[in-house]
């Protein structure tokens, strides 16, 4: 039986999903797993919908997570959580930053931002944790630290020693921003969401 674990980090280009996936990949490598992290570069990064796949286990083949396969989805934005919901495995965990970022069709008024997304997702019986990661990031000292707040939340669902996360942060975050990100990680880790 395939024991590979599947995670997805989804959000909007520019939200720092790449750094989040690098911290996660670093932690998984330290834990001795085979790891694959698949990123999107180029065109889609310009404010578009972005997804990073993180897979780990004894031996990982495919670099991507497919529909209905994600054990955990870490969503940086509500609409993106809804967009990628079909990739969540039945019984999988969805962690959502409740921030809303209007996509261009909403900005230009040809579409409206769907209301009550969290309630609708919960009504589907999804194991959902929703939190305002942006406020926590601001509390840590920078709105840009949303990514690491969310990695802090995610760490609650992965049974790795704290030192592993500490080292992953040290190795992936530029020294100048380490302190803010350490604080952001702690705030995320101690937050239970709703």
């Amino acid at each position: 039986m395939n024991t590979t674990k599947n995670m997805m980090i989804v959000g909007v280009g520019g939200q720092g999903t790449l750094l989040a996936s690098r911290v996660l990949g670093n932690a998984l490598l330290q834990q001795g797993y085979d790891v694959k992290v698949s990123e999107v570069h180029g065109m889609s990064q310009r404010g578009g919908s972005v997804v990073t796949y993180v897979r780990y286990g004894e031996k990982v083949y495919s670099p991507i997570v497919d529909e209905g396969q994600a054990d955990i989805i870490l969503a940086f934005e509500q609409l993106e959580a809804a967009r990628w919901l079909h990739d969540l495995k039945p019984g999988g965990k969805l962690i959502v930053n409740t921030q809303q970022i209007d996509p261009m069709p909403v900005v230009t008024g040809t579409a409206s931002y769907p209301a009550g997304l969290m309630e609708k997702i919960r009504a589907k019986g999804v194991d959902l944790t929703a939190l305002d990661a942006l406020s926590l990031a601001e509390q840590a000292g920078s709105s840009k630290a949303v990514n690491i707040v969310l990695i802090g939340v995610l760490s609650c669902y992965l049974d790795f020693p704290k030192e592993v996360w500490a080292r992953a942060l040290e190795e992936c975050v530029p020294p100048k921003f380490l302190e803010i990100n350490q604080k952001a990680f702690e705030l995320g880790r101690s937050c239970k969401g709703e």
Binding site: N2, V12, G13, G14, G25, N26, L29, D34, V35, K36, V37, S38, E39, V40, H41, G42, M43, S44, Q45, R46, G47, G48, S49, V60, Y61, S62, P63, I64, D66, E67, G68, Q69, L79, E80, A82, R83, L85, H86, D87, L88, P90, D102, P103, M104, P105, V106, V107, T108, G109, T110, A111, S112, Y113, P114, L117, K120, I121, K124, V126, S143
Partner: protein, 575 residues
């Protein structure tokens, strides 16, 4: 030491370990990081060339000069470099030469979905295809060995999922192959007919030997599981197949996709009950297998278009579909957009306002085609804006000349816009060309180019003046405008469109994402004064939205470019 590396970074590591000494490339997603990562090794001379043809010729020159070399490009870049490619096949190499080409199945960041394996067959060059980062490194090193052993450039085919996935790589030390002394060898390197005719014979003989090698190459690997189903595959498709089918199938994993191993395929086919080829894009392997007279299924099960995935393999071969959860409602799409403060925005706004026909090009500014600016009529390939506009205007005449422009970025202009401009000048055209000079190659993630004044390592370099290049090819009307200054841009545009000779407008302002660009404080909307006329929304700025009937500016995104303030007729937007 084990580490997680992007496929592209693993290719760069392979270059380092193989003792490669020269890399010349033009950036293009998904290939860019190969060269960026290679530039971090002091031992390797690296450069951004103005285009892929130049890059490949530089790499060939370095190989003839006696040092292992590489050029990297995206699939469409190989079209640009096809000229040297086909003849480098005839000359062969001195020190090893590798050409990395990254395909983009699914078109994550490309204008077409071509399959580079056809180039290997057409140019009669061997092609290796790694399936993860460890193989990216190993195959790069092997490619240099094969290049020298068979006296041929070697193609290394990547794809988005291999180039942009990180997986574990074991690092090794660098070998330092001694430089090969240069010896003049006219019959080998001067491809005039008398010599080329003889070389073609050598090329055919080499292909035969390479096919023999393919049949013994350990990278063409048989992995036996259940033999009721046999899969022939390569690259990312192998990973999807193995993921979906595990030990319930057997695999012939091809690390070398040209030439293909006839005997290995026959041997594998003889061991399995049913044979299926799983390959992304075209039916290259399938056609070869069919030509051998071996019964096989391929494109009747798997698509010609886009990427394959593990679920697709499970569905097509086992009829297994995943259980999924989704919301019933249709969600608004989130296409990529020009960033807040993007200097291209003001220019496209002006073009849209003047209802100008816009022949576009390849870069971030292709996003000007999207709503609400919708200011682009064509996008074909690097440089096609300028040359296309000339043809468009020649057949449509004066009326068209006065209401059509070409739009091209600084790096794209250096890549293949200059020749189009020379053509306009030489052939008496009257076209208006706008060069978007944002001081960087933007879309591929901020690479330097010949107009920026810096080289790949960020060291000061010769800065080619766009104005002087335009003047030198015979354009007398060259103006420079700040695209944040909408009034001035509008005035210059009208003037140049009306002019009775060709002109170039250089729209100059650095990319708002460049680190050295200082941002002004964010603007905000005085909501009492906002009449919700939505004039500001015509800019398509991601920082502006309408909330509860009033315009709102997102202060975390706004960089204070002030375009929206200039458009507000009610003075509702303030610093």
């Amino acid at each position: 030491m084990k580490t997680l590396l992007l496929g592209n970074a693993a290719v760069a590591r392979g270059l380092y370990e193989a003792g490669c000494g020269a890399v010349s490339s033009y950036p293009g997603t998904p290939s860019t990081e190969i060269t960026e990562e290679a530039a971090k090794f002091e031992e390797i001379y690296c450069e951004w060339a103005p285009n892929e043809k130049v890059a490949m010729e530089v790499a060939l020159g370095a190989s003839i000069g006696g040092t292992r070399s590489l050029c990297a490009m995206k699939h469409v870049g190989l079209n640009v470099a096809a000229d040297p490619l086909f003849t480098a096949s005839y000359t062969g190499v001195s020190a090893g030469m590798v050409i990395a080409v990254a395909d983009d199945p699914g078109m994550h960041s490309s204008q077409n979905e071509q399959d580079s394996r056809h180039y290997a067959a057409a140019s009669k060059l061997p092609m290796l295809e790694p399936a993860d980062s460890a193989e990216c490194k190993a195959f790069t090193k092997l490619a240099f060995e094969l290049s020298e052993r068979f006296d041929t450039p070697v193609l290394l085919r990547l794809s988005t999922r291999v180039s942009h996935s990180q997986s574990i790589v074991e690092l090794a030390e660098r070998e330092e192959p001694a430089p090969v002394p240069y010896q003049k060898n006219t019959p080998k390197y001067v491809m005039m007919p008398g010599f080329a005719k003889k070389k073609h014979v050598v090329v055919e003989e080499r292909t035969r030997k390479l096919a023999e090698y393919a049949d013994t190459a350990p990278i063409n690997e048989e992995i036996l599981g259940d033999t009721r189903l046999g899969i022939i595959t390569s690259g990312a498709a192998y990973q999807y197949a193995r993921e979906a089918l595990g030990d319930s199938a057997s695999y012939l994993k091809l690390g070398m996709v040209h030439p293909l191993p006839e005997e290995k395929i026959r041997h594998f086919a003889g061991q399995v009950e049913k044979l299926v080829v799983i390959e992304e894009l075209d039916d290259v392997i399938e056609t070869f297998v069919k030509k051998l007279g071996v019964p096989v299924q391929g494109k009747e099960l798997f698509p010609w278009i886009g990427e394959i995935s593990q679920n697709m393999v499970a569905d097509r071969l086992r009829g297994i579909r995943p259980e999924t959860t989704a919301l019933e409602e249709e969600l608004p799409v989130r296409p990529p957009v020009m960033c807040a403060g993007c200097p291209h925005r003001g220019m496209f706004y002006t073009l849209a306002k003047n209802k100008v026909t816009v022949l576009g090009d390849i870069g971030c500014y292709t996003l000007g085609a999207s709503a609400p600016l919708s200011a682009m009529d064509t996008t074909i390939c690097m440089g096609a804006s300028i040359s296309g506009l000339h043809g468009f205007n020649k057949v449509r005449g004066k009326e068209s000349e006065q209401r059509s422009v070409a739009v091209i970025g600084d790096s794209t202009f250096m890549h293949s816009g200059m020749t189009g401009l020379a053509n306009i000048s030489y052939n008496g055209g009257n076209s208006t060309v706008i060069i978007l000079d944002n001081s960087i190659t933007g879309m591929t993630g901020h690479q330097q180019n010949p107009t920026t004044g810096y080289n790949i390592k960020g060291e000061p370099a010769a800065k080619i003046s766009l104005e002087k290049v335009c003047e030198a090819v015979g354009i007398r009307r060259v103006s420079v405008v700040d695209p944040y200054d909408l009034k001035e841009f509008d005035r210059v545009l009208k003037e140049e469109l009306a002019a009775e000779e060709p002109s170039v407008i250089i729209s100059r302002r650095p990319c708002a994402l460049l680190k050295y660009v200082k941002h002004a404080p964010a603007y905000r909307v005085e909501s009492d004064r906002c009449k919700a006329c939505k004039a500001c929304m015509k800019l398509g700025c991601p920082a502006i939205s309408i909330k509860e009937g009033k315009a709102v500016i997102d202060g975390t995104q706004c960089v204070g470019c002030g375009l929206c303030k200039g458009l507000c007729g009610f003075g509702a937007i303030e610093e």
